[in-house]
């Protein structure tokens, strides 16, 4: 069984998910993830659909463990976890695999992600300020500024996505 390692960085989980499924369609299945490092294992094409979810708690929290058990009952496999993120997959021979079937739960999830972005943004703004007044690590400030700029952009798009979902929810519960 051949495997390959790919290094990539995604700020938007939805794009990351699309990419993982493109890889799966070509027969490369994510097996392991460590911050920007993806390990794929080769197999028959299109066997699995991948989904990425941000959990409410850390993966080793009893509530997350309870959720994982629940997912296993549904034949959904936990591929790997990283911080509060979890990579899931399900056989494509089953029904199409989605994690959310109504706008409400989708909004809930997107909102959770936006909260995480806000924390990361805040930490980076603090880092920029510290570097401004204490320029020992003056190259770091560009790194932090880049994150702040990029993240603001992603957050704006994310905010619009949530607004759209909220608009849809005022009319119907689901598609």
């Amino acid at each position: 069984m051949s495997s390959k390692t790919v290094y990539r960085f995604y700020a938007d989980y939805a794009k990351e998910e699309v990419w993982l499924n493109e890889m799966a369609n070509k027969g490369w299945y994510l097996q392991q993830f460590r911050f920007g490092r993806y390990v794929f294992v080769e197999g028959e094409p299109s066997m699995y659909t991948y989904r990425i979810e941000l959990l409410e708690n850390m993966p080793n929290h009893p509530k997350s463990q309870d959720y994982f058990e629940f997912l296993e009952e549904m034949d959904i496999e936990v591929v790997d976890t990283s911080f509060r993120w979890v990579f899931l997959r399900k056989r494509t021979s089953d029904e199409p695999f989605h994690l959310y079937s109504d706008f409400e739960s989708q909004i809930h999830h997107e909102h959770r992600i936006l909260q995480l972005y806000k924390v990361v943004l805040f930490v980076n703004i603090i880092a920029v300020l510290i570097n401004l007044f204490n320029p020992i690590t003056d190259t770091m400030i560009w790194f932090n500024l880049a994150i702040v700029t990029g993240l603001s952009f992603v957050m704006q798009r994310h905010e619009r996505k949530i607004q759209t979902l909220r608009g849809l929810r005022t009319i119907a519960e689901q598609d």
Binding site: D66, L71, E73, M74, L99, Y100, S101, S105, H108, E173
Partner: protein
């Protein structure tokens, strides 16, 4: 039960979950039951179903049954859940009645 609980409409997911839990069922059982009952129209996705079950347990409308170790977790509707479901049923009847009256649809003979 707060007033807000009585006034708001239940989501379709919650309505069908409550309907299915007149007898103990585990997650997958609920999903299958709802799908069959609705002729494949309502398909509860895993994340949505789990979220709904957790909030229903928090509200006390359903509860996890005593289970042996290693068995799948099962849920059942509480009396409070049943009361809430009956309220919803009446609300839905009212909706249908208004719709039929306003749209000039003949009521089917019962």
């Amino acid at each position: 039960m707060s007033r807000a609980d009585q006034a708001t409409a239940l989501t379709e997911a919650v309505y069908y979950i409550l309907l299915s839990l007149q007898q103990p069922r585990h997650g997958y059982g609920i999903m299958q039951f709802v799908q069959e009952l609705s002729n494949d129209r309502v398909k509860l996705a895993a994340g949505t179903l789990y979220g709904a079950l957790s909030s229903l347990v928090d509200k006390g409308w359903i509860e996890a049954t005593d289970q042996e170790a290693g068995r799948k977790k099962e849920y059942i509707m509480t009396n409070q859940g049943r009361d809430r479901l009956m309220l919803e049923l009446n609300r839905l009847k009212e909706l249908v009645r208004h719709g039929q009256e306003m749209m000039g649809v003949e009521q089917s003979e019962q």
